[in-house]
């Protein structure tokens, strides 16, 4: 498996995640999109690790997985709180950050 195919798969995955994040409204879908983006990065890291015969990339993958697990936990808790507060998980209708 060549580096190029891994890279292309990773970039395509990242673009899918990013455009999902920008275009979709449901909070849970947004969290899923973040996971997709993180895993796209993970894929690229692993691909480079294999290409360079190193282990640093693999180590980063584990760190990212740990962080994304924590992030998912916190994110889901926020989603629950949002739904309780606004009665909806549609992020296009929530603009509390407006200055």
């Amino acid at each position: 498996m060549s580096l190029e195919s891994v890279m292309v798969t990773g970039i395509v995955l990242f673009i899918i995640g990013a455009s999902g994040f920008l275009l979709r409204g449901n909070a849970i879908v947004l969290l899923l999109c973040i996971e997709v983006m993180l895993n796209a990065v993970n894929l690229i890291l692993v691909g480079f690790a294999r290409y360079l015969y190193g282990t640093e990339g693999q180590v980063f993958v584990f760190i990212i997985m740990t962080v994304s697990a924590a992030e998912a936990a916190v994110g889901l808790a926020i989603v629950v709180a949002l739904v309780r507060l606004f009665g909806t998980a549609d992020m296009t209708r929530i603009n509390l950050l407006k200055g």
């Binding site: 990013a18 994040f21 920008l22 992020m91 929530i94 950050l97 407006k98 200055g99």
Partner: protein, 623 residues
């Protein structure tokens, strides 16, 4: 442990009074506040007497106590210490300040009873004594300047003591501003001394002047003249005298203490203190003497035109200080200091007695409404008459001895014409003294009953009246420069016309005779004629105030209005408001972007990241 290391106790006691009354006195009754204040000054007076006894017990050349508290600042060769020293010259001043000050504190305790600002008054009064002692005891020009400005501040605060009265707060401001002119000269003089001598210590300067003739006489003269300008301002000499008559807006004891007995004499003290400098620049003496003489004539004529008893006394103070300047200008420091002491006592007495009279008349100050007071207020009248006679220079009161010494010196130093002018001033003094006396003679000229003054008010008057009698004694023996006072002071003495005792005796007797005749005639004239003729020119002090109004006040006000309406309103405010408007505009420009939808934020984040990467790749020369 020698006595000199306790010198700090003199200024410390009134300072303690300030702190105690200032911080703890807020809820105290008047009695307690007054006893703290009067007690602190009384205790300082007791200590001063101990120091005086110590000075007397020493040999004439060794009469000097000094101590250094703290090295204030040190910059290269120039060092300024917080140093105090006491020699016969400062002893005389300390004595006048504390003796008259103590009696005036006592008098104030009764006089100010019931005033809502009772505590504030005593705090300021004690603060004044503190700064005055600092001025007098300082061993260098810089520390003297600190005391100098401090007494100026207290003067300002006390003139404007009844600040609800616009005239009082205006008068305070006028005093402050006019003094700036003199202080400007004083400050330049200090700087010049620091540059030329590398020191500001009086002893050091005297030593350098004695040992090093390399200092150009022009420089020493410039220095002396600059310091003299400071003295003119503080001692209200012509042409910077305009603040003193207005300063009478303050309470009468304040006029007695600050504007009669002590602060206004600081200029004379300063000139005596820098006497080595004057001796090194003899060209300055005629300047000092002529300013003094001009002031004597100008102010005594203006005094004659006043109807307000306190304004009359103020002009009289200006003219008497003029005599002290004449004395210093003749090189007769001891005669000047002697007149200072005598004048401090009798002018303090006159102001206090005038205060009692004004109080008795329900605040009326117009001399034309006063008459026949001798029968109504015998105690106060007796003391006032004693003060007036001393002012006119009638034997055997103190003013006779001091004024005679000055007149004789002026004849010896500057000749006949100068003497005639100075003596004419003395005759005018006798004239307005007669006008003062007329208030106590003849018929009653007012309606209603009088308020009799309390014991606390009368006792200081009696003590001061006795002192005017006693203060002449150090001026003995007559017909010599070597009076008791001069011997104690130990200042450099110039003798003129030595041995001409017949001439001096004849002059003394004829002067006294003329003064007494003029005094009696004036007293009779002003008693009989109910409406005394008052020349408009004399009453307004020859229009100097109006002249200054035209020359300085109006242009300054116009300039201030211009600065306010154009420079401040247009330029400064425009700049500040412009910055405000600019940031507002920028804010509204960017604020629309803060939609609150985080999807937008994420999009800009992603867009920014892509743009950054693209840029960095572009500059790396990729693609």
């Amino acid at each position: 442990m020698s006595l000199s290391s306790f010198l700090w106790i003199l200024p410390a006691l009134p300072a303690l009074g300030v702190l105690v009354n200032g911080f703890f006195g807020t809820s105290w009754r008047e009695r307690k506040i007054a006893s703290v204040s009067v007690g602190s000054v009384g205790l300082a007076l007791a200590f001063a007497l101990v120091f005086a006894a110590d000075l007397f017990s020493r040999l004439p050349g060794d009469r000097r106590l000094s101590m250094s508290l703290y090295r204030w600042l040190s910059d290269g060769s120039l060092t300024v210490d917080l140093g105090l020293f006491l020699d016969p010259l400062s002893m005389v001043m300390v004595f006048v300040v504390l003796f008259v000050g103590f009696l005036i504190h006592l008098y104030s305790a009764g006089y100010m009873k019931g005033d809502p600002g009772y505590r504030r008054y005593f705090v300021f009064l004690n603060l004044f004594i503190f700064f005055m002692l600092l001025l007098v005891l300082a061993d260098n020009l810089v520390l003297t300047f600190v005391g100098w400005e401090g007494v100026g501040l207290c003067s300002y605060l006390l003139i404007g003591f009844w600040y609800e009265k616009t005239s009082a707060s205006d008068a305070g401001r006028k005093a402050f501003v006019v003094n700036r002119v003199g202080d400007f000269g004083f400050l330049l003089g200090i700087l010049l001394a620091a540059v030329v001598f590398g020191t500001v210590n009086y002893g050091e300067i005297a030593r350098l002047l004695g040992s090093d003739p390399a200092v150009a006489p022009g420089i020493t003269a410039a220095m002396a003249l600059l310091l003299f300008l400071g003295a003119i301002g503080k001692s209200a000499q012509f042409p910077l005298h305009v603040w003193l008559p207005d300063a009478m807006e303050g309470p009468s004891p304040v006029s007695a203490l600050i504007h009669g007995a002590t602060m206004v004499n600081a200029g004379v003290y300063l000139l005596c203190r820098i006497s080595p400098l004057l001796e090194a620049a003899p060209a300055v003496f005629p300047v000092i003497a002529s300013v003094g003489l001009a002031t004597v004539l100008y102010a005594s004529l203006s005094a004659l035109g006043q109807r307000d008893i306190k304004r009359l006394l103020a002009y009289s103070t200006v003219s008497q200080i003029g005599y002290m300047f004449v004395a210093v200008g003749c090189g007769l420091y001891s005669a000047g200091m002697f007149h200072l002491m005598a004048h401090g006592i009798f002018k303090g007495l006159l102001f206090l007695a005038a205060g009692a009279v004004i109080h008795a008349l329900d605040g009326r100050q117009d001399l034309e409404e006063m008459g026949g007071l001798g029968k109504e207020l015998p105690g106060v009248s007796l003391t006032f008459v004693a003060g007036t006679l001393a002012l006119a220079g009638v034997f055997p009161l103190s003013g006779f001895f001091s004024k005679d010494a000055i007149l004789w010196g002026s004849l010896g130093r500057y000749g006949l014409l100068f003497w005639i002018a100075a003596f004419a001033g003395a005759l005018v003094t006798a004239l307005y003294s007669g006008k003062l006396l007329a208030a106590f003679l003849g018929e009653k000229r007012f309606e209603g009953s009088l308020h009799r003054p309390g014991t606390v008010v009368v006792v200081p008057l009696l003590v001061l009246a006795l002192s005017t009698l006693a203060a002449g004694l150090p001026g003995l023996p007559l017909f010599t420069e070597e009076t008791f006072f001069a011997r104690f002071l130990g200042m450099p003495a110039h003798t003129f016309l030595a041995g001409e005792h017949t001439l001096e005796g004849v002059l003394m007797v004829s002067q006294l005779g003329l003064i007494v005749i003029v005094l009696c005639a004036a007293a009779r004239f002003f008693t009989v004629s109910r409406k005394a003729p008052v020349s408009e020119a004399l009453a307004s002090g020859f229009g100097v105030d109006r002249l200054y109004e035209r020359l300085f006040v109006r242009p300054l006000k116009t300039m201030a209005r211009f600065c306010f309406s154009v420079i401040d309103s247009r330029f400064v405010d425009g700049l500040v408001n412009g910055f405000g408007a600019l940031s507002m505009a920028l804010g509204t420009l960017v604020a629309g972007y803060q939609s609150g939808f985080f999807r937008r934020y994420a999009a800009s984040l992603a867009g920014g990241a892509v743009a950054l990467i693209a840029l960095s790749v572009w500059f790396q020369g990729g693609f």
